[in-house]
């Protein structure tokens, strides 16, 4: 059974733009991205939208749906009130390229500033390592990240304060956590986290964790333990005393 619904989609580019209404028939099981595709195929062939896997695995189709940052491919229309127009707009934190597509290249540049993985010497003569399953599972959560950048979109430090030059945001803190807690990693990123990446800017409002489509406990499991490492090293009064002595 198809139900008619209105989709209020932001159209425009870096120079400006506004919402435009489209109507589309909604059928059972459809997600927001399906509606956008229908509109694109039939009414607005030049509507810009970025997508790939359509299964919540690649993290390309991030947008703000009725004001909430979400993946368009995993947002079912049956969970949305279709009596009102459904608004779809690009992520606010990143510069708009066109319509629903934003320029997320900053994330890729910022990632390069994090020291890469450096393994400890191999455990076995054949050059391999021995790792316990429990140690693999501990960091699995961080490695699930699909780089949709929704957490970056809602981070106040980036969204309101525009500290992109000083702060790497939750996604990249999760990346740093995945490396720091990797059972084989021997690199030290604590100093960088404090001075270069300014982890102190995060005041743990947990907005990032709430929008994560992979349900990564970003603040509690990644950011706070990293903050603790920074505090342990630089702000422990006893250690400070020892350093002075």
């Amino acid at each position: 059974m198809a139900t008619p619904a209105t989709f209020r989609i932001w159209r425009g580019n870096s120079a400006g733009g506004g919402f435009q209404d489209y109507s589309a028939a909604v059928e059972e099981g459809m997600v927001v991205l399906d509606a956008v595709h229908h509109i694109q195929a039939q009414q607005a062939p030049d509507l810009a939208v970025r997508w790939n896997c359509k299964a919540g695995k690649c993290g390309s189709c991030s947008a703000e749906i009725n004001g909430m940052p979400k993946l368009m491919c995993m947002t079912r229309l049956s969970d949305i009130d279709l009596n009102e127009p459904v608004t779809i707009e690009p992520m606010h934190t990143f510069p708009v390229i066109r319509d629903l597509v934003t320029d997320v290249s900053w994330n890729f540049k910022a990632k390069k500033t994090i020291k890469q993985f450096k393994p400890r010497p191999p455990d076995a003569p054949d050059g391999t390592w021995r790792v316990q399953q429990a140690d693999v599972e501990r960091v699995q959560e961080f490695r699930k990240c699909i780089e949709c950048f929704l957490c970056q979109d809602v981070c106040h430090v980036l969204r309101e304060h525009h500290k992109q030059d000083e702060f790497i945001g939750p996604r990249l803190l999760v990346h740093a956590a995945a490396l720091e807690m990797h059972p084989l990693d021997a690199e030290d990123r604590v100093s960088d986290l404090r001075r270069l990446h300014n982890i102190g800017y995060c005041n743990i409002t947990t907005c990032c964790r709430q929008v994560c489509p992979e349900s990564i406990t970003i603040t509690e499991n990644a950011i706070i333990p990293l903050k603790e490492r920074v505090v342990d090293r630089y702000f422990d009064p006893l250690k400070r005393l020892f350093r002075i002595l």
């Binding site: 580019n13 059928e27 059972e28 099981g29 459809m30 997600v31 399906d34 694109q40 195929a41 039939q42 062939p45 030049d46 509507l47 810009a48 939208v49 970025r50 997508w51 790939n52 896997c53 359509k54 299964a55 919540g56 695995k57 690649c58 390309s60 995993m74 079912r76 390229i97 066109r98 319509d99 597509v101 320029d103 997320v104 290249s105 890729f108 990632k111 390069k112 890469q116 993985f117 393994p119 050059g127 391999t128 390592w129 021995r130 790792v131 316990q132 399953q133 693999v136 960091v139 699995q140 490695r143 699930k144 699909i146 780089e147 990346h175 490396l179 990797h182 059972p183 084989l184 990693d185």
Partner: protein
């Protein structure tokens, strides 16, 4: 006159999935300058969707495994049409490539003694797939991406390549445009590695994203390279069938590897009813034996659900056609039944198959730990591709290399699950190495400026025709519909002749497509440009499938249902003739060395 932004590299890699990234890393490590052009953002390529694992005879779980068994399994799965040299190198080098990935930070699930764990998969004699839950592809692409960005390569994201450039008969780079603004680019290069993936978008029901329009195949074909095995398109047996909007999305073979079973609406495990001769010896004859196999009992043989993909897909198709399917036109795939055998089965399923649990819960409102899934075949993988030298991955055009799904050879008539991720690593690495060597050994190339202008003008033509002309999306739909219905799992001469006619008509319509708006991130324009590639690969698939008058591997001909020994000695080659028309011909397989023949005999 459109302007071109210009870049120059020793090696240009087109595509940034597993094969492209691995090739780029290897080329850079060999001391040459490397550019990477990709259609999407970095880390979004289809490799990310790979779920099951990487096939490599590490022998961590079963010490009877070694390269010889893996080689024989791959050849059997490909019905002996494989490039035997590639199958040999792949089996020998895959373990090293997996260990290399671990040294770059990939984390795999572990055995009790801390080694990389391996799981069962269709067609593999022993548990062979290194994996992490059911998101191995993500682990792999992220590892390569994060390693690659520090390896010294320049990445051009969200760019489409329009054509390969030639200097005489040698490759000279590529030209294309970016999505963001529609700016044109020239990437001059002494060597080019194609790593553009497959052709899934030529079909209506597919597990592939919008990107997989056969670009690399069409680019190589237009430049004069030979394609091979184009008739072999893999239909993965288990794609989602409901809701309609998620139709085709992959359900990993790992579900069956973990004990999932296929049933028809009568509740019958129909896979027991049809076990091919080639696999009789290796297949369980009771449900209990099959279950024991999935739980690691070395004395047990594999359940029939883990037969090769071509066979399982056809069996499902048959059940549906016979009216024994599920309500939405598939069959039932049940993993929840293992609660009868395992304590805490719910947690077990969620841990082993987390993204499948998530996918069904979120997209179909279905809890796979409690209910069976509905699944049906989906276009998944292209076994055919650019014809290559097995050692170097060099195509028939000097300086042009290819790796991964766009390459032909390793998989023959049917690919085994898990052999694709290892393919990307083994042959990405080889292609990168040989491309770097080629670039070092050969001098600078020139660019034909008039060719560039022609390519740019042709690309801009849809704007001149405007939005009232033919709709590019509609032409694409019509092509997908035709390929699905006429050149799908079950093929016959009359339908394929009809498909060729439709392709001819669509080619005329594709010439007339128009788009409105401007070059800024215009999806309609991108669709219009991709159409040309889709039409070339669709025609190649159809012509090759018509010529092969037998059923083998992924090709099933209703009018020639049996295998033909004579055809078993030949590959089909597709090439553009001097007249501009598509030519197809059969070509004898190169003779296999005695020692490899002996391995196959020994493993029979």
């Amino acid at each position: 006159m459109p302007e071109f932004q210009r870049f120059s590299y020793d090696v240009l890699v087109i595509g940034a999935g597993g094969a492209g990234l691995r090739a780029a890393i290897e080329a850079a490590a060999n001391g040459v300058t490397v550019g990477v052009v990709c259609k999407s953002l970095l880390g979004k390529a289809h490799t990310v969707m790979a779920e099951g694992g990487i096939a490599a005879a590490l022998a961590n779980v079963d010490d009877r495994d070694n390269w010889r068994v893996h080689f024989a399994d791959t050849m059997r799965g490909g019905q002996y049409l494989n490039n035997w040299r590639m199958a040999e190198l792949h089996a020998k080098e895959a373990p090293e490539c997996v260990r290399e990935l671990e040294a770059w930070g990939a984390l795999f699930d572990r055995t009790k003694d801390g080694k990389i764990l391996q799981r069962n998969f269709g067609g593999h004699k022993y548990p062979r797939l290194a994996h992490v839950g059911d998101r191995t592809g993500l682990e792999m692409i992220r590892t390569l991406q994060d390693h690659g960005i520090h390896a010294g390569m320049e990445v051009h994201m969200e760019c489409t390549v329009l054509s390969l450039l030639l200097d005489g008969n040698r490759i000279a780079g590529a030209c294309g445009y970016d999505r963001e603004k529609g700016r044109f680019y020239v990437w001059q290069a002494k060597a080019v590695v194609l790593a553009t993936g497959g052709i899934g978008r030529a079909f209506k029901i597919t597990s592939n994203s919008w990107e997989y329009t056969g670009d690399g195949l069409a680019l190589a074909y237009r430049a004069g390279a030979e394609l091979q095995d184009m008739e072999f398109v893999q239909f993965h047996p288990t794609g989602m069938v409901w809701p309609i909007s998620v139709r085709g999305i992959l359900v990993t073979e790992g579900v069956r590897g973990e004990g999932g079973v296929l049933r028809n609406k009568e509740g019958r495990r129909f896979m027991f009813d049809d076990i091919p001769e080639l696999y009789k010896e290796q297949t369980a004859d009771s449900e209990d034996e099959g279950w024991r196999y999935t739980q690691g009992d070395k004395a047990a043989r594999r359940p029939p659900e883990l037969l090769t993909r071509d066979h399982v897909a056809r069996c499902i198709n048959r059940e549906v056609k016979a009216g024994r399917g599920s309500p939405h036109g598939g069959v039932f795939l049940d993993i929840s039944w293992i609660k009868e055998r395992l304590p805490k089965s719910e947690e077990h399923i969620k841990r082993k198959l987390p993204s499948m649990y998530h996918q069904f819960k979120q997209l179909a409102d279905l809890d796979i730990t409690k209910e069976p899934m509905e699944v049906g075949p989906t276009t998944h993988y292209m076994m055919g591709g650019v014809r290559l030298d097995g050692d170097s991955q060099a195509s028939t055009i000097p300086g042009l290399f290819a790796a991964g799904e766009v390459a032909a050879g390793l998989h023959g008539a049917n690919r085994l699950g898990g052999n694709s991720l290892s393919d990307l690593l083994v042959f990405g690495r080889r292609a990168g190495r040989y491309a770097a060597a080629f670039a070092k050994a050969n001098g600078q190339v020139g660019v034909d400026e008039t060719g560039l202008q022609t390519a740019a003008e042709a690309a801009l033509a849809p704007f001149e025709r405007g939005s009232s002309a033919e709709n590019p999306y509609q032409v694409q739909y019509d092509l997908q519909e035709a390929m699905q219905n006429l050149v799908g799992i079950v093929r016959t001469e009359s339908e394929m002749e009809q498909a060729l006619e439709v392709i001819g008509q669509l080619r005329v319509r594709a010439e007339r497509v128009g788009v409105g708006g401007n070059c800024e991130y215009n999806n309609g324009w991108h669709t219009a440009i991709d159409l040309g590639n889709l039409l070339i690969v669709s025609e190649a698939v159809t012509r090759a499938a018509l010529l092969r008058k037998e059923s083998r591997g992924a090709q099933f001909r209703e009018d020639f249902p049996g295998k033909d020994a004579e055809w078993g000695k030949h590959n089909i080659i597709v090439k553009r003739g001097a007249d501009g028309e598509m030519h197809v011909e059969k070509r004898l397989l190169p003779p296999m060395p005695e020692e490899l023949k002996a391995v196959i005999e020994e493993m029979k």
